[in-house]
Symmetry: D3
Subunit: 138 residues, 6 copies
C-alpha cells in the first residue's frame, strides 16, 4: 500500500546506516518495535538518519511540556494535515505516555473548535488586532 518498500529487520541489518538507526530507535524507546515510518525511510538512509535524529532530539530529550503534551500537540498538527498514520501513531504514543481520557476529550474539543474558528476567520478575512503584536516586532 506504500509507495516505497517497508524494510524488514533482515534487510535493515544489511545496511550499516539503517542498522545503526534501527538499533538506536530500539535502545531509545526500550522496545523491539520499529514502526513503519522508519521502515519506509530506510529506503533513503541519510533521510532516515536525519529524521530520526530530529525526532529523538525533540521528543525523547529534555522537555518543559512533558511527553504527553508533546504528543497531543503532534496529534493536533497531524490532524490538520490530514495524516491518518500520524494521528494513529501519535494517539497511541500519547496514551502510552499517560494521556488520560479526559485529556483526550479536551484535545478533541480544542481541535474541533480551532478548526471551526480558523474557517470563520479565513472566510471573513479578519485582520489581526494591533494588541496581538509583539511590542519588539511592531
Amino acid at each position: 500500500m506504500s509507495t516505497v518498500k517497508l524494510w524488514t529487520d533482515e534487510e535493515a541489518a544489511a545496511d550499516p546506516v539503517v542498522a545503526r538507526v534501527f538499533a538506536d530507535i530500539r535502545a531509545t524507546r526500550k522496545s523491539d518495535f520499529v514502526n513503519n515510518l522508519w521502515r519506509g525511510l530506510a529506503n533513503h538512509p541519510q533521510l532516515l538518519e536525519a529524521t530520526w535524529a530530529r525526532l529523538k532530539a525533540v521528543m525523547a530529550g529534555d522537555t518543559v511540556l512533558g511527553p504527553a503534551v508533546q504528543e497531543m500537540i503532534y496529534i493536533a498538527v497531524s490532524t490538520a494535515n490530514a495524516c491518518s498514520y500520524c494521528v494513529h501513531s501519535h494517539t497511541a504514543a500519547a496514551r502510552a505516555k499517560g494521556m488520560s481520557d479526559a485529556q483526550h476529550a479536551e484535545l478533541m474539543a480544542i481541535i474541533g473548535l480551532a478548526a471551526m474558528t480558523n474557517g470563520l476567520v479565513t472566510a471573513m478575512h479578519i485582520p489581526p488586532n494591533q494588541a496581538f503584536m509583539v511590542p519588539e516586532a511592531l
Copy 2:
C-alpha cells in the same frame, strides 16, 4: 481588509444579541477588549452567539490541560490551517496565560517536526501498524 464589516461598540450596542455576547466576552475575560473575530461575527448574531458559547465552554471552563497548553494546541491547529489571525491571537493569549519562552521554543520544534514527518508519511503513504489500533476498535 475583511469581507464583512467589523462592528464598533456603538453598532454592537444597538443589537440585543450582539450586545449580550459582547458583554459576556468582557465579563468572562475581565477586560474591555473585544477582538476582531467577534466584531466580524457580529454581522451574523446567531453564529456569533453559538461560536462564543462553544469557545467559552472549551477555553474558559474547567480544564485538565491548563490554559497555556490549551492555547498551544490552538496555535498548532491554526498553524497547520495557515490562519495568520488565529496564530497571532492565540500566541498572544498563550503568553498572557503563562506560556514561557522555553515552552514556545518546544512548541515551535514540535510543529516543525510534525509537519516534516506528516509530509514524509503522506509522500510515502506509510500504512498504520496494527499496534497503533485501539483494541476495542479492531
Copy 3:
C-alpha cells in the same frame, strides 16, 4: 481502524447523555441509523452533545440555501480538508436530500476549478483588488 472505540447501541444506552443524543439523532432524522461519527464522539459525551447540537441547528433547522445546497457546501469544505469519511457521508446525504447528477457534476467542476485557481493565486501571491473590499471595512 479508528483511534477511539465506536460505541454500540448497547453501550450508548448505558450512558444517559449518549442515550439522549442518540435518541435525538434518530428522532430528528426519522431513521434508526446512527453513523460512526456519533459512535466515536460518544467516548466524550459533552463533546458529542455540543457537536450534535451545532450540527442540528445548522443542518436540520431553518435554511435559506436548502438542504441539498447545504450538503454540497459541506462536501466542498470536506474535500479541501481531505476528510474522506466526511466526503462520503455528506455525498450520501446530499443525494438523499435531492442533489441531482447534474448538480454533482457542477459541484465537482467548481471544486476542481477553485482548487486550481487557489493554487495559482497563492503561487503568484496575487494581491486583492481594492474593488473586492467591503465599503464599510475600508
Copy 4:
C-alpha cells in the same frame, strides 16, 4: 507584493494572446474591470488562456446551481485552502450575483461546522459506514 509582475492594460495590449483574453473577460462580464489574477497570469499567456477558458465554461456558462450558489461553493473551497485573495474576490462576486446576508450567514455557519467535524473525524480516524457507499461502487 506578488511574485510576478501584474500586467497593465498597455502591456496586455502588446501581446496578442493576452489582449484577446482580456477582451473576452471584459465582454463576458460586461465590465471594464480585469482583476489581478488575470494580470498575474498574463506573464504566462497559455496558462492565462487555459485558466480563463475553464473558469468561463464553469462559472459563466449554463448552471443548474445558479450563479450565487456557485460562488458560495467557490468561497467554501477557497477558505479551506486559506486563499485570502480568492475569498475576497469570490465573496465580492457572490454579493454581486445576489447572495443575501442570510445566505452569507448560513454559508459561514456551514464552513465553520464542516471544518469542526472534519477535524474531529480525522483526529478520531472514523471509518466510513457501508451505508454511505454508492451501490455500484461496492
Copy 5:
C-alpha cells in the same frame, strides 16, 4: 469505496464523449491502461473531457522541465494536499518516466524540509523581506 461509480470499458464504450476520451488516453499514453480517475470522471463527461484536455496539454506536451521533474512536482503538491491516490499514481508515473532512487530520496528530503519550514514560518508569522519582491511588482 468511491462516491461515484467507476465506469467499465463496456460502459465507456456506450457514451460517445467518454469513449472518445478513453481512446485518446490510450493513444496518448500508448497503453491500454485507463486509471481510476478517468473511470470516476466518466460520470460527468464534460468534466472528464476538460480535465483530460488540461492534463494532456501540461503533462504530455512540450516540456522544459522534463517528464520526471514534472511528476515530482505533481507528487509535491499532492502530498501537501494529502491526496493518497494522487501520490500513488504520480509516484508510479515518475518512476515510469525515469525518476531514480536518488532523485526520489532528494524529493522526499525537500518535501519534509519544506513542510517543516512552512510550519515554522506560519507559526511565527515571519514577514517577507523586501529583497524577495519582484522589482516590477513593488
Copy 6:
C-alpha cells in the same frame, strides 16, 4: 507583524549559537543577507541551529535534481501549504539559481493542474489502482 522578535545583527552577535549560525549562513551563501526566517528562529537558538543544519544539508549540498528544480519543488509544497513568505523567498531563490520564465510557467501550470485533480480525486474518493503499487510493498 511577526509573533516573535526578528533579531538584528547586533542582537545576533551577542548570542554565541546565533552568531555562529548567522556566520555560517553568510559563508555558505556568499552573501551578507540573512533573511527573516533566521532572524525569527534566533529566539530559539537550538531550533535555529537544527533548522539551518537541515536546510544546508538538503539545499546547499550535493544534488541530483539541481538547485533550480529543488527550489521549484519547494515552491510547490509551500503553495499547497499556503505559506506566502515561503512562496516569496523560494521564488526569489529559484530565479537566482536559474529558473527561466518558461520553467516558471510550467511550474505554475503543474501546480494548478495538480491542485485541480487532487480536489476531484478527493471529492470522488477514487481508490488507487493495483498497478500503482510497489511490487515489494504488496
